[in-house]
Symmetry: C7
Subunit: 288 residues, 7 copies
């Protein structure tokens, strides 16, 4: 009777196990289908916004993701089914674990890139067309991708860097820029007269430069070295127009001063001559 009971139990167990195997297989299959559809939808919907993903890459990435997910789900299902037959799966798990560890570590940069990329767009740190400086790259943002960003320098080269490397962003396109012109004048100059001339010149700036949006200013004496007095002039311009405005101001200022006969200083040096004969006689610098 007990044998019968065992039989009955065994059959119960066997049929239960068979049922579980079937259910797990179906469940895994359905899960894969669902995940695939989600992936496809996400790709066709979500990244329509500021991220530019070309068609070809779109497809490649979508398929890659589908493959990875399919493999992972089937692996889980197989492991679970094996464990139904009371087979200790520690070995399999451990083997997969070492691979998983290496991949997990190796892939952390990838995850970091995507997370940072998400925040760049979410926080609107910069957008396509902005003039930015990010690490060594300085130029116009050309493309903000899932994993990398492209910036074009003014001399034509393209900087491509992973988003995870974007830590300190300098964005020049969000606010008006300030054009800064430093003017060296000689110590011999009459400071008051020079200032008067500069003020006269500055009044001509805003009317003549359309990119300048407020009256140009004379900040004052920025520096006073042994050879020159440095005057600093500033002008608020539209974003990123300060390079051009500063160039033009330098040119106009030079012409303005030339026309009025103001000389800009060359380096100067006072030279005291001593004859070779004087050399040692003179050595007793300590006079008396």
């Amino acid at each position: 009777m007990i044998t019968k009971m065992l039989d009955e139990e065994m059959w119960l167990a066997i049929s239960g196990t068979a049922l579980k195997v079937v259910l797990l297989t179906i469940g895994a299959y359905i899960l894969i289908r669902v995940v695939r559809i989600i992936i496809r939808k996400s790709f066709s919907v979500r990244f329509k916004g500021p991220i530019k993903v070309t068609g070809r890459r779109h497809q490649t990435l979508s398929k890659l993701l589908e493959n990875v997910v399919t493999y992972v789900i089937w692996f889980m299902a197989m492991v679970t089914i094996l464990s139904l037959f009371s087979i200790n799966i520690s070995g399999i798990i451990a083997g997969a674990g070492v691979v998983g560890l290496a991949v997990g570590f190796g892939a952390q940069n990838l995850v970091r890139d995507v997370i940072t990329g998400f925040f760049i767009i979410f926080e609107d740190q910069f957008s396509v067309g902005d003039y930015v400086r990010i690490n060594q790259a300085e130029g116009t943002v050309q493309e903000i991708g899932l994993r990398t960003t492209k910036v074009q320098a003014w001399t034509g080269e393209i900087f491509i860097f992973p988003n995870g490397n974007v830590t300190d962003v300098v964005n020049f396109s969000l606010h008006n820029s300030i054009a800064v012109v430093d003017l060296s004048i000689s110590h011999d100059s009459d400071l008051a007269k020079v200032e008067r001339l500069i003020m006269e010149f500055l009044e001509t700036v805003q009317p003549n430069y359309e990119e300048v949006i407020s009256p140009a200013e004379l900040l004052g004496v920025q520096n006073m070295t042994a050879t020159e007095v440095v005057m600093r002039l500033t002008a608020e311009t539209l974003p990123m127009q300060h390079f051009g405005v500063a160039r033009r101001m330098r040119r106009d200022l030079k012409e303005f001063f030339d026309a009025r006969g103001v000389e800009l200083p060359y380096p100067r040096m006072v030279v005291m001559h001593r004859e070779p004969g004087e050399n040692m006689a003179d050595a007793a610098v300590v006079k008396k």
Copy 2:
């Protein structure tokens, strides 16, 4: 009878399992509801203070968080329910673990950013409008966000950096600043006379400059090089007014000295001439 007992037991087990499944599902649902409400409340209440979160982002972030939490809770519930059917879930856990590991590592920067951001506000290290220097960024704080901080340089560009990068903060707006002016005078000058003149000048500083809040001082001879003696002058000013005050002091000092006929030194050099003919004859430097 034993079969009957087994039946009874089985039915007990089945009904117990069914109950647990229902309870778990309901519990998970309620938990999600509660967590969602907490998230929404937190967002509408807590960050009213110094952090500026615009409406749109507010909503996005709140929804993102809700989604993540919903997915995580359902995942846990599903795993727990599966385990009720005596299905070994090691496989699922292991699979989720590798993903979790990669995400955990990738997200640690995010956590670090938010924790540091919390402490910046909590410790009031700086607030919007302060003039600060943080790494390469120097300028006025424009916005302290959940994850990033924005600083505007005086020339208009915006620095954007994650809070986790904020290690050494230099805040210029908490205390009065000191304007420092270094004045080079010639070695030939009569030091006592020059000092007398400087003292005379310094007495005119506080009355004429409204940003200077205590009498300007002559620190003394800061340096003595082969070509010049450097005198250092200081004036305590309102926070961040020291750039302007130093510029004006340099200008006024120059005018003051010019008016009194004091010459500032050009680099000097003593030149000893030797004729080409002398060249080799003279080679016996060791005389006698």
Copy 3:
């Protein structure tokens, strides 16, 4: 009877175990076969594209991978079989775990290299023949490999670096380049006349240089130092032609100016002479 039952159970268990051992061995064998075929196929199919893998390496890598996979699968099978005999395999797993840990850590660079390499090709950051700058390496891309990239400098040396080191790519071959020529002129020069001459010269650039694809421009006064005024000229060229164009423009400009008698400035200095006798007498710089 119970002994009999135990016997029966035991035989059941023994036969079950034997069955499992056989099944596991066969399963492992089949798995290895399948994986090997997949590896071979992948190697002969997938990397036909932009990655250049020579025949010999192809074979070596393929065999290496097959060996590693074979060892790993047999190890898992053995561990699983041992566990069927109720032998605690924690010791084996732990031993393998330490080795796995060291290998996992040591191999993470390898994984990172391959992942980054995949993205370089997938995102088309650069391709063979492009002129790029990656860290210290600057030159023409010669080969993009599974793990490393080779770049040939213009002076002939080859830079070889793992793909994981490729973070910031500067690609010069994607867009037109800008040739930049800086021209120093003397402060004494008549700026307007010089500008007129430069404009005259620039008109001759596009017609005479086939690599220049738009009229050359005079950007303006880039800098104004104590000794010179720096004028900047630019010309848009085909990608990577800017070095040659700039060289030729400098040459032609020099000839153009020489022909018209314009002098380029040598460094200038104003020298004031003082006699040694004057030295101390003159010390009272503060006159009167």
Copy 4:
């Protein structure tokens, strides 16, 4: 009868479980109460010493800690209660583990800051009012906090940095300082006479400077370059008085030397003239 036994057992199990739930809930509640009281006491007692915690922050931090502890204890209690109902909690633990991992990694900086902060105070590395240099920050310590330290530079700006960044401390306030004055004299000078004069001057230092606490010394010839001989003078002063003392010594030394007619050297150069005509003729440097 067996059914009855099962019933009895079941009721025993149910009542036992119920008891455990009640006990766990009460235990958790009591534990929270106790921990809260400990936190409050710690905050009001322990940090009275050298750490300055303002009232408001005190309260905020104390509440924050209480909240965190409360959440953690309730989470543990819930998990333990769930496990009483034979619900496998691996899923919950795993979920919490990923979050915990990210938080644990993200929070390690925080822990490091507090540990280092504890040691700064415990080892008395510096205290409020000391003049220190820590990384780029140089100035007077203003506040040593739980997590950060504040240092005020002499020009007014405040440096704020986490204690974990404090590795190399330079403390200027623990010992007397040495004022160092380097004096350049001409190669033509009579060294013995100059030394005699310097010794004469140094004797006047300690009597006239109250910050100098031992006779000033002439260290000797520190350097001998092509243009000058550098003599080094030192004077031991009270802590941090060396800047002021060195400035005053430079000034007094200059006056002392001026009064005795000793000239300090300008850079010198020997110039050999060659006529343009000599140029090529002379080319045969190899004479004969």
Copy 5:
């Protein structure tokens, strides 16, 4: 009877356990033998290729590896046997785990070195005799070892570095090199004439230099500074012959120019003299 059954069961268990112990011991012994033979074979066969392992080291390393493997296998066997006696081995495992962790972390550099070393040889990045630059080391590769590489500088010193440090390799021996000679000429020179002379000289290069494998070229005006015009000449040479060729070209060019009376420029400066008397009078730079 039950006692008897227990006895029987016990004896079964005991005999089974004894059997397992014997089997495990024998298995471990055989495994060690096998692994040892594999190690010896690998050492005598595999590294015959490009890696140079001297006899003595060969033996040492082989023995070291044998010892480590022997210890590890016996440790695993012991742990497994202990677990057969139902002794909880967590303690042992944990103890070994901490040691394993430290060793695993400490050894990861070793693993990294060997993996990178394998790839250097497998990818043929450089081989013995190549002239390479790797980090600070520049010279001829002397030996590529299991863990380290040796490079001999041209001045005789040997650089020894672990392969894991080899990230960016610069290999000079794979392609022809380019000898680069920069020639400074005076602004006063007649550019066309100089170019004609250089072209004349370049035609003599390939016929006279056997290492030069294509006609030498005049690249053009590389730079134009305030004092000189820099002309760049290049010649393609056999690998690593560019240093010698450039040296000889410089010498021959100098002789060629000297023979034709072309002068190379000394630095030039325009000096404007002002008398000390002029000094202040002239101060009104703003004329009129």
Copy 6:
């Protein structure tokens, strides 16, 4: 009867559990007592040697350690007791694990500091009073502590750094030092005569300087630049006496040479004059 048996079993279990609780509590209590005594003994005995621990800190650290140990042991005991009541303690362990992880990571620097500190003393790398350079700190070792080392610079400031930062130690007090004096002489000098004079001078060094312990040497011509020939003189001195000896040697050498009428060189320059009129005429550098 079965109920009775269950009762009996239950009472056995209950009494066993009670016994275990009591035993565990007592064991924990005794363990704490023992550990405390060990801590106290260690503190009063072991660190008497080279480490300087002041009384106050001694006590603080000893108490801190006692507290930590007490808390840890009670925590373990509680967890073990809870587990006796079949309460799943995974939750508690997991909670403690996250805290432990953060603390473990945060504390690793501490452990590293103490381990390195131990080796500094054990290997006698330096001891109190030695003159060392460790990273930026250069000066006399003042204190070697458990966690940090203090070094006093010669100008009075104290460097305090954790022992874990001590990687490269430069110890100046273990061996005799070498005083190095570089002497520039003019190219015009008669090298043989100068050498003879230097040799003559060097013979006077050892007899007159008590810190010099072997005859001073003339190393030879260290460098030969366009303006000077540099002769290097060395003298072996007692440890750390080389600064003083070099200073005195420079002084005596100067006096020695002055007495014998040897001139030390000023920078020299050959100047070729060209008149402004010559400028363009001369432009045809290519003569003929």
Copy 7:
């Protein structure tokens, strides 16, 4: 009867447990004895070779290791015994795990140092007496220890660094060195004559210098700047004799040239004078 059976079983269990405790205690004791003997033997035998371990340290280290091993084995034994009484030891393990984690991380540098140290000796990278450069340390290797290496600079100071910091070794003692002498000659010189003279000089080198082991060579014109032509001379010397040989060659070369009346060049400059009056008139650089 069942009670009796239980009794019997219980006694069996109790006696079995007691047996296990005794066996474990004895096993641990024996293990400790064995390990101690192994440690002592290793210390007295193995490190006799190239590593220098003084007697005192020998003993200290050996005792330290013995203590650590003793503690670890007793801890494992205790944990195993506790687990025999069905006491859940997770708490203890977890507690020990956190400590182990911190120690494991903290100790990884130690492990790394020893592993690298082993390879330095095993690969014979350098040995005592070699002249090496390792990071900032340059000098003669004085001692290669278990954990650190000591290098003595030629000026007497000792560099002490952990072996783990030894990555890039530069060993100067393995091969002959090359003495390099750069000789600047004037552009005015007759290159062929100078070369003839140098060749004449070089022939005198090998016969007169015993450290020179092959004829000295004239490499050629290394550089050609605006002021000088640089000729490079080399001579192969015994290892590390190149400093002395180069010094002597410079001296002899100078004497050789002086004797033959060859002048070495001073920096030259062409000066064009312009009178202040010319200043503005001349401004029209654009002539005609």
